[in-house]
Point group: C2
Chain length 424, copies 2
């Protein structure tokens, strides 16, 4: 029986459940915490049960990391997790206090108490199981369950963290296990935009995106949702609603693509200037060479993103280019100097001053010519394309870092993304 | 087998265990945490296994309480405990990082992980059981176990706190359960003094005290050790060593009285100016009146300390005086106004400007005349005594607050406490 059934004679409709996740900027101080509590109470009054997932307040996690580095040059990972999980402990308890003040029953749960069981990879643990019995009991008792995001307990009974963006993953995992009707991700932006509104003032909030589009946008610089949480949502079919904790207005729904609906060709333009490009020149084109290069990088834990290799020319040699996070560039270059000698490549060059501009849209699957139009738009702006890579619903071009904003604006305009349902 | 046995041919003496507790001032910043880590490593090198109990850094607990009151006028007790336990989480993990940097294996444990099981009284929980299996396993594996003080997990699986001074209790309880050879309480003072050295510059550190003496000193204003932890130590026969985390010099041992040793008559002079006095005048001297008064106060959770009632005079009426913490005075007076009418007492008076001065010493049991000498000393200083109460090893006098320091100095001098083994 759901709570709030006025008369015992009328069968009570089963109450539906929402998971609401609030990021650090949504709980940055006492006033924001009270505003969040007000919103949760409103949601309950509208008839949904609510499970809440909270991140640490504001920059708490960064502050704790700074403290760790004051004590130790290389903090032990298990202890780093013990330390960082103090952050959400503070926000969950404060939010519960505010809810209880508003006559709303509420109980806080650490990741461990909420049954978020992970592997033992401290700092980047993966969820292996969710034993949500205590959460279910709390909801059944009429409580709002307030769960610490980002954290869990390992199979070895140690406290773990899920890595940056982990709170989104906690929220989606709980929504999946509890059968929530949606997972609402409250943040400091109003939803997912057709492009970064700081670069394109006429950028528009997308009311709806497929999981695949959101994945490609997250992977290419749209930082609203953590990639892992989108994958988790897609794998478990959890509808995600990205929205603002400042205006409380509807934002962007991320869910199963609806084949009956007309798709816009392009959903948005994303960009990312956090990577650097490395090119290894005149690589002998024989089996195993690419494996040698990327195994060496993987062994040094360098995160390679885009990889482009052209077909070999007449000389049976080819250039291989790839991008890595800028902070990994020195490490990657050291690895590549060794590899270059090993595979007898002619040279090695790198460029940290690059940016990637991507068009994402499920509609481009059935609309040939999008890539050609993208290259024409960039050419007409005098922008040189250094690398190209594509997927079924995404085209990415690496350009000079100084051309990124111009490229984003030109593409947004050319594909008419400021118009609802706009097509080129 | 203990670790560090140099040759396998020589049987290895069983390694003994020390519990070391570090208060908030001992771990106030990164530098102090590193100094504590250095000391723990030294202790290990000298051959002891070590279990460490840590409080929250500096004023962290006060800061978290302030935050709670920004969010809520009356924070929910369960959530307050969830909040406050973030404090020790930070200090245990940072201390472990520092130990691991020093090549000393270390593992942090929350109160819950350390098996500190309590009742469900949030904010002032009592330990009901210590399931120290994980601590024992860690020590057997060669780790320093670093345990969060002040916190536990209730029989209802909620996080609890033990109240102020709770970290001392955690340390003593672990020492008892683990059979430690001693519990070292590191603090910002050098030990237990014959009187407050800020008032009596020639005050001296007592090398040794019985549990009973320490109890009376804690109860009457000697704030070095929390009363509960001393009771726990006495009940379980745990030797406690109070010492400085700044000089690392030996301090005061609190342990079983050794009947073979000559006792000094008086161990120290304590004082306390945190209480106020209430007198209810001309109370009819019939059975049940005292019960009425103190039941009414207990029901309002007013903490009554000293109680003095004289034999009744010819009129069959008597005055009853008692002391309460100054912050409870308004509440206590409201209660007493009702009680006064109920029991038909003649009047009610109160005085917040009082202080208590106490002489504590196991030796006074066998030395009559200590009380008389105390009263003579106060009289010769022109100090009026407002209330007197005694136990077998303590005499307390309530005097005017302005006379407290003069009384402490005069008594310290008269009983020659500046001399080692001094007697009057």
């Amino acid at each position: 029986m759901g709570r709030g059934c006025a008369t015992p004679l009328v069968p009570c409709a089963s109450v539906s459940l929402l998971v609401q996740k609030f990021g650090g900027t949504s709980v940055v101080d006492a006033d924001r915490i009270k505003a969040v509590a007000d919103h949760i109470v409103r949601t309950r009054r509208e008839g949904d049960d609510v499970v809440v997932v909270v991140s640490a307040m504001g920059r708490t996690t960064d502050e704790l990391e700074r403290l760790a580095h004051e004590v130790s040059p290389a903090p032990a990972p298990r202890e780093m997790d013990m330390l960082l999980t103090a952050g959400e402990r503070i926000s969950i308890s404060l939010l519960c206090m505010a809810l209880i003040d508003r006559s709303q029953r509420a109980v806080s749960f650490t990741g461990s108490q909420a049954g978020i069981v992970t592997d033992t990879s401290h700092g980047k643990a993966k969820i292996v199981e969710v034993r949500a019995d205590r959460i279910r009991d709390a909801v059944a008792a009429g409580d709002v369950a307030v769960v610490a995001g980002f954290q869990g307990v390992s199979t070895a009974r140690d406290v773990t963290t899920l890595g940056r963006g982990g709170s989104d993953t906690t929220a989606v995992a709980l929504a999946a296990v509890l059968g929530a009707r949606a997972c609402e991700i409250y943040t400091d932006v109003a939803g997912v935009y057709t492009a970064d509104p700081r670069i394109v003032p006429e950028a528009r909030i997308l009311p709806r995106l497929s999981y695949e589009e959101m994945l490609d946008m997250s992977a290419t610089g749209g930082r609203v949702l953590a990639l892992r949480s989108v994958e988790f949502a897609r794998n478990h079919g959890v509808p995600v609603h990205v929205r603002s904790s400042f205006t409380w207005q509807p934002g962007t729904w991320v869910e199963e693509e609806d084949p009956s609906m007309e798709q816009a060709i392009i959903s948005g333009v994303t960009h990312d200037s956090s990577e650097a490009k490395i090119t290894i020149q005149q690589v002998p084109d024989r089996p195993g060479v690419a494996a040698t290069i990327f195994r060496a990088l993987a062994d040094e834990l360098v995160n390679v993103d885009m990889i482009v290799q052209n077909v070999s020319n007449v000389s049976q040699h080819t250039d291989v280019s790839f991008t890595v996070p800028k902070e990994d560039l020195p490490r990657a270059l050291r690895v590549m100097e060794k590899v270059q000698a090993e595979i007898a490549a002619a040279g090695l060059s790198h460029d940290p001053a690059i940016g990637r501009v991507s068009l994402v849209g499920a509609g481009m699957k059935s609309h040939p010519g999008v890539a050609a139009q993208m290259f024409e738009v960039l050419a007409s702006e005098g922008i040189n394309i250094e690398m190209i890579s594509t997927s079924a619903i995404r085209i990415s071009c690496v350009v000079s870092e100084t051309d990124v904003e111009k490229a984003v604006r030109a593409l947004h305009r050319a594909f008419q993304l400021e118009d609802v349902g706009g097509e080129a």
